[in-house]
Symmetry: D2
Subunit: 346 residues, 4 copies
């Protein structure tokens, strides 16, 4: 930790900061310049809050030296984390996996038609929302437990592992009973009670980045889950909120290589929510893989203009099939392959 | 609802949209221009999702005409909502109320000293966090139920009603047992299960604006609570996340007069979180009242540099006393008064 | 300057940074922690670019200690700068000054009617655009030199000093011939050739904050003007661009007290551009003064729905008169007065 | 244009809007709903400003139907614009072109070494700044005309066409004398006098997107240049300003396919400024091409830690060579090739 004192900090204020740091077990180095004194505090305590120092008189700013997360950091675990699902689907390895399916589960037919179509095109994981976070209380909120049952049936029929969102800490055991991967949605990235519950569950977690979360906050959300005992985490960039409203969100693809260097966890990209427009989904899925993503998550609906949620950003099955063909070529260009589902399925 | 068709939309696509709208019960008006056709749909159905139309072929954009919230809208309830707390404290009336206290409850002594000081300066409501939403799992998370008990003791000693945050839907009944006002924090503004639980509770709710929430999303969060049966809501602007990082957040004071015109609910401002720097708290509290806020929420700590949370933005009791003197003058200048606690307290 | 080395920086990399710093004349202090080495560099050289260090191998980040601006900084000139205009109008002193007038000069009649009305209500400076920065090449671009002449006539008729925008470095001498204050618009805050030209002019400059400029960048823009020899600068906050689009911009009022502490220059607020909606102009003008602004800049038009520019954010003269009455009360509440124009005018 | 009237708009207010629209030559359609009246105005006048209607009493909002730009719009020119430079370099065709070189021209040796290296790796255009827009007046501002001469010498030696920034409207003729492509930098995207001057020049223009410019504003900046008579424009996405500061800017790659659909102009991406970190340049360059960009612009410096500008985001020549090998593979994967310089060079 580095403490920069104000220009007119008194000797007494400087000494008060030094004593405080020493009392907390830091080794202290003082650099006195002509206009300012800088206090370097070496040691890895973590007890002392940065903000507690910033509140001291005479302190201009405090600059942390160490990153505030550990379990999620690559410097503490250099090798990639690989999350293993049924049917031999491995996330975070050499192969790129594609999650596809409807935004919301609407009926068994809608789900099964979509699941079979995306499987035929090469998707290895099925998505579908049973509990839907909706901005308006008057929008369709999902089929809830019935939706989970339909997902399990679609998995039985196709062999595809399923990912679905859990929003309420109380529902984690129920959702974990049905799902292969628990999704924590963007709006819940800092729902700390939910993070602790999925941390306690013995299921992989797909952790979406919050729409206004910095990368550091996202890593700390992963740290919550890991510190609760679960390190089967897949990070998913899905766009951040900016001034630009020509797209639903601004997909921050630079986050992909950056997070891959900061963390050992696999990183996915959701270009459907990231752009909100189906015409942009394919180019941004290709870009995500070119940037180093471990997979993409794509909304597919057999009939987008009848979809109960997110129609404008859903691909029809034939467009999705095209996407997969192009994705295979881009994956090869960057030295990767597309994942495959084990043959003896269902 | 207005549907703008693409330049090259076919007659068939136009008719498909018209039929869909008519099927849903809208009255439809067509305007055919040289380059584009516009479809006006009159009626207040709400069943048909805007996005479902946007997913239809040939549709360029859909412009909603009605606001998506009702219960929270001033056009459906013109008179101001007044939230009444114990000791005659009324929020949303002519008097401005000041909530003050420490960010986190740390001990009975810290809380009581602060409560007595802020009461002496004119605050009418005590704040203090028992459950703390913290970005890092390694930061102090609050005294939890013990913190709630201390708040109740401080209320018994001073007569001040108390507001405290609830983060977990499961804790709503517990927190409601102790608190006079349930606070929904900024990071939980779209925690829809929590909104429904506080909607079901029979206690006033202080609903903070999310750091990246638009005003419309904030109104819809209030609508969630109201549609669950609770209309005792106090809105609280606490800064939004922008590119500027000289302050912790960017306090959006324009939201105050704007929300007062859109909604009948009272609006507070939290300049402590809104700026993150104690030197800016007083000027921004004055500005909030000048802009028309019904009250402010201020962090006060007897010893900010030992605070377990938010020290840099906490005022010492003497600075808070000064703030209150200035606030009284500004309130008078805009034709309001400062609220008072009823004499026969506790 | 503080250099934080990467976790696995080699001894050679550390020494290379140390040598570089010493070669540039810095005094260097090394702090070796368990996981990282920190290099403190004391001295005020300014020659060495921070980014040049950041490009060195093994360097994780460089934290500047000193602010990058001097002439504009309060720490180098503690007393307030006061800008003096004709008719005894002083900006940055105890009195609050109000600039008012139409967005664009449209005709002599429109300008004179407005000028007389705002003067009658207490405004002390007249605004009016002759050169208009317009997003579209097809929008009205201003009356240009004819507009300048009309401003001079309105000044002759009312005695009000005038402020008008200059956009092109080549027009600075022309505009300086007519105007009392040269306005640098938000979109030109980093038009460095324009900054140098207005720096060379012997006229006060009103420097608007860019819509995506940090406070530090704004101070550096002032530094450009000051380093070219002109220290008669008035800063003007006019809203920043954020995700919120319920208002045209997000007026960042926290910038007012913050900049007043960082700099000795006077600070104005433009709530007309800051909000884009006339209903919000009065509350935000009051808030600006409560927050410590030295003045406000208000768009007034006798007939907003016929205005050639910015009608929706312009006040009618009667609303402006009301604003001025309220502003007087708020100014008094914060210990200030409203400026007056010297009697023997014109 | 669609005008949505307020809920309580009077019949007189409605009629006033209708008359105004009819007076301007629009055909008007009225839709009266239970709570609101909507006025559709058909016709393509452009005279009537949207804001002028928004200022009328009783008007809630005005929704434009047509896009505000024409010359730059694909709907008015369906086929791709191809910009042709010397040596057979074509921008916007099937081949992807790579612009590379140092941020700033520092010396002939530095420039020539870089130019030869990037040419050897496959770059077809040389970049180098002679006039540098710098946030601080104390930073290196470029070699100015001497820098232009060095660029011309490097072109003579290598055959590579050169692109360099012009910042001052007065310098356009000078820069146009030396450069093959005039760059308008991000901070000058709305410097309208500069746009008109480069519009009048007979040289291709590389128009960078402003850090807080919407896509529509960017298109309108291109419209300024085109309406001044120059349609040889290359658009260049270089990152927008958001709350995330782990990267220098947030590279908005979704803008690439979006702008390609809205406009016929070629689109480049600058991942060096877009990320500010050299480690992210290669993955984001690959992503840009996968997303459909017509080329990328890369900062290369033989010795980044001695660079006078932008060292941290500059690649060394060997890293650039690697990038080019990977880029070739990704270009092939999306059905494109890398451009080549004609053999008989210089």
């Amino acid at each position: 930790m580095i403490v920069v004192m104000e220009r007119d900090a008194t000797e007494e204020q400087i000494q008060k900061v030094v004593s405080r740091l020493e009392r907390e077990g830091f080794q202290v180095h003082l650099s006195r310049g002509v206009t300012r004194t800088i206090i370097g505090a070496v040691g890895d305590k973590g007890h002392l809050q940065r903000e507690s120092l910033e509140a001291m008189e005479g302190v201009e700013k405090v600059v942390p030296v160490l990153r505030p997360y550990k379990l999620a950091a690559r410097e503490f675990r250099p090798e990639n984390t690989v999350v293993r699902l049924r049917q031999g689907v491995e996330i975070g390895g050499e192969a790129i996996q594609v999650i596809a399916g409807p935004c919301a589960v609407e009926s068994f037919e809608q789900l099964l038609v979509t699941a079979e179509a995306v499987k035929a095109s090469g998707a290895t994981i099925l998505r579908g929302g049973a509990f839907k976070p909706r901005t308006s209380p008057y929008s369709f909120q999902g089929l809830e437990e019935e939706g989970l049952r339909l997902l399990a049936q679609a998995r039985a029929a196709t062999g595809l592992p399923v990912v679905t969102e859990v929003m309420d800490p109380r529902s984690v055991p129920l959702v974990a009973e049905y799902a292969d991967v628990l999704q924590v949605g963007a709006r819940n990235m800092q729902n700390f009670y939910l993070l602790r519950e999925v941390g306690a569950a013995k299921k992989p977690v797909l952790l979406k980045r919050g729409p206004s979360a910095t990368i550091e906050e996202w890593m700390l959300a992963a740290e919550y889950i890991m510190s609760a005992g679960n390190d089967q985490i897949i990070l998913c960039e899905r766009g951040i909120r900016t001034f630009e409203n020509a797209t639903r969100n601004t997909l921050d693809l630079s986050a992909v290589p950056l997070v891959k260097s900061l963390s050992h966890l696999p990183v996915f990209v959701d270009p459907s929510h990231g752009t909100g427009r189906w015409e942009l989904v394919t180019p941004m899925a290709l870009a995500a893989v070119a940037a180093g993503a471990d997979g993409v998550m794509i909304e597919v609906h057999p009939n987008p203009d009848e979809a109960l949620s997110d129609g404008p950003q859903s691909l029809k099955p034939d467009k999705f099939a095209q996407l997969m063909r192009q994705l295979t070529r881009v994956a090869t260009a960057v030295g990767r392959t597309l994942g495959q589902i084990a043959v003896c399925s269902a």
